[in-house]
Symmetry: C2
Subunit: 346 residues, 2 copies
């Protein structure tokens, strides 16, 4: 067993976030590395109690951990965007999580809604940019509430921001069997941003002759996720397109209950943050029926990021085994957590 | 037979555009209404020959027709965005096609990639905004080609533009069996634009008490297209989200070869334009193997828009019958056109 100890900040957040994080931690405790966790109360409850979303002092503290595990944030009682922008996106931006890493993998035994896809056909990684693009928060409105209102929303794309995520994606592609990287954008309409992305992609590609490259408009890529998912190995794309594609990815790989993600700062100037792709699901919160598998797989990604490759592998195997035997049996949140824990511990 | 005559401008465009338009016209000639067509040479050929995309004089002429039938524009020999922005999008914008109408319907007999969906589950209409949003073309770049480049892309949303398309969608939903309308946006991240869309949607909804309303973030909606398509009846959404959703829609309803669309100016201040959702597909151009069905269905929408409901119905029925008997037989472009023509004529 590795003797290093992990200092982990935990943000359970809202809705099912708290439920799935409990199971993620259960598996983490069982799998090996020593962990010290500190839980942060951030999300709708704190917002209603104090008006705070992410106090600067808390952000400063969070910087000191090895990694962050997040459940989900967002609640219908809070105006749209407040927790998303001021808490979740602020964390991604301030901690420079420029890679939002989202594997899309169909595990054996998992039912996909696609009639003719098999596990081997759906095995890709989406490298979504995480710190700029349409998520910048830039824009405004004037004459709000009048017939003359205008509302704008701006996408910011920088050479710095685009190049670093593209390089990461090429490195990732080089390390995989198929060594294929697809850029997804909408260069024929979003010509300024698209031009920067496409030019940067081509320039960096020259340094990776072993990687096969491809380009798809986002509309075509979304279609191919459904009718030709085997087309993709690694995908690199902007923040908004990546948001959309990875939800389609979750759908084809068996549902949002299984989709893991990492908000990664590859330069390690701040802790990376791991979270399930799903949201807080207020409709099923508190009922113990959320699937914690996405969070458990996110814990696996966290361990991998911190260099605990064996522990990460053990989690992925335990989840794969659990999924392979799942069938139609219905188990609650903690039961799934217990079963996967037993597998990693055994 | 209706004695009015249709004055139709035809823009075959690039690649398979010319091939599929021929079949659309064949069916149109057979179905009844008298038609006078004038063909316009616009697209890659003209661009290379003269540098022109859409001369003002041509645009002025086009305004005088009852409708426009377009095949597809775009060719790898032309820089990305030139034909799309200066020809296709310019037509949509100048002719005020504020409704981009895209039915997503699985016809009986058509294979969908979704394992457990039946024709009744996939029967929706996407009302995509067509004249603003991220398609406005606003943005810019500075320090291009340097490590300090910044490229921006702006989404413009106006009360005028948002309200009119939302009203159209409510009217559409009221006239359908399920009377359900879903707004798709990303209000939790694109807060300025999302706020305008959501507020306008709620305000107009009060005038349509019979219509059931719903809201989905675009990422969730994209997922639901794949694993719960029966959730949707009519959808209203912005230009970019509509572009993406309707390609997913094409995928689940049997492929891009069947997806029809209308760029509609509901106020009839300029002609509406009908086109298949697919592009120019340079890889299969000139081989007579493109499926003209999407164009033929677009011709049906054109007739419906011009008030020839019987002829429109005849086309939809002929296509439905053709699809029901298609099976795995492979027919070329003109053969499919001939077969559908025989059905409408018979
Ligand atoms: C909650 C929301 C802000 C977030 C996003 O859009 O990035 C979510 O959809 C995701 O994909 O992590
Ligand atoms: C060709 C392109 C500009 C166009 C669009 O993005 O609108 C196409 O994808 C469509 O959906 O009609």
């Amino acid at each position: 067993m590795d003797s290093r100890s992990i200092r982990l900040a935990v943000i359970p957040g809202d809705g099912i976030g708290t439920e799935v994080v409990d199971e993620g931690l259960k598996v983490l405790q069982a799998v090996g590395p020593k962990v010290e966790t500190t839980t942060y109360d951030l999300g709708a409850r704190r917002y209603h109690a104090t008006g705070e979303t992410l106090p600067d002092a808390v952000l400063a503290e969070l910087r000191e951990y090895d990694a962050i595990l997040l459940g989900a944030v967002g609640d219908p009682s809070v105006p749209p965007g407040v927790l998303e922008r001021e808490l979740l996106l602020r964390l991604r931006f301030e901690l420079d999580h420029y890679v939002n890493l989202r594997p899309v993998k169909l595990f054996p035994g998992v039912a996909t809604p696609l009639a003719s896809s098999d596990p081997g056909d759906i095995d890709m990684v989406v490298v979504r940019e995480g710190t700029e693009g349409p998520y910048a928060g830039a824009g405004g409105a004037m004459r709000r509430g009048t017939p003359h209102e205008i509302a704008t929303q701006e996408s910011f794309n920088t050479a710095h921001g685009v190049e670093r995520v593209i390089r990461y994606a090429f490195d990732k592609a080089r390390g995989r069997d198929r060594q294929k990287l697809t850029l997804v954008h909408k260069t024929n309409v979003l010509t300024y941003a698209g031009d920067l992305w496409a030019r940067t992609f081509d320039r960096v590609a020259a340094e990776y002759p072993e990687v096969t490259t491809d380009y798809c408009h986002v509309d075509a890529a979304s279609m191919f996720f459904v009718n030709q998912p085997e087309r993709f190995d690694v995908i690199v794309t902007d923040n908004l397109f990546g948001d959309i594609l990875t939800d389609i990815g979750a759908a084809i790989a068996g549902g949002i209950g299984l989709a893991a993600s990492g908000n990664v700062n590859p330069d390690r100037t701040a802790p990376s943050m791991f979270e399930p792709v799903h949201g807080s699901a207020p409709d099923i919160a508190g009922q113990g029926k959320a699937d914690p598998t996405a969070t458990i797989l996110s814990v696996g990604m966290l361990l991998d990021h911190l260099g605990f490759a064996d522990a990460a592998g053990a989690i992925e195997r335990a989840v794969a085994d659990d999924l392979a035997e799942r069938g139609d049996a219905v188990r609650g949140t903690s039961r799934i957590g217990d079963d996967i824990t037993a597998r990693v511990a055994g």
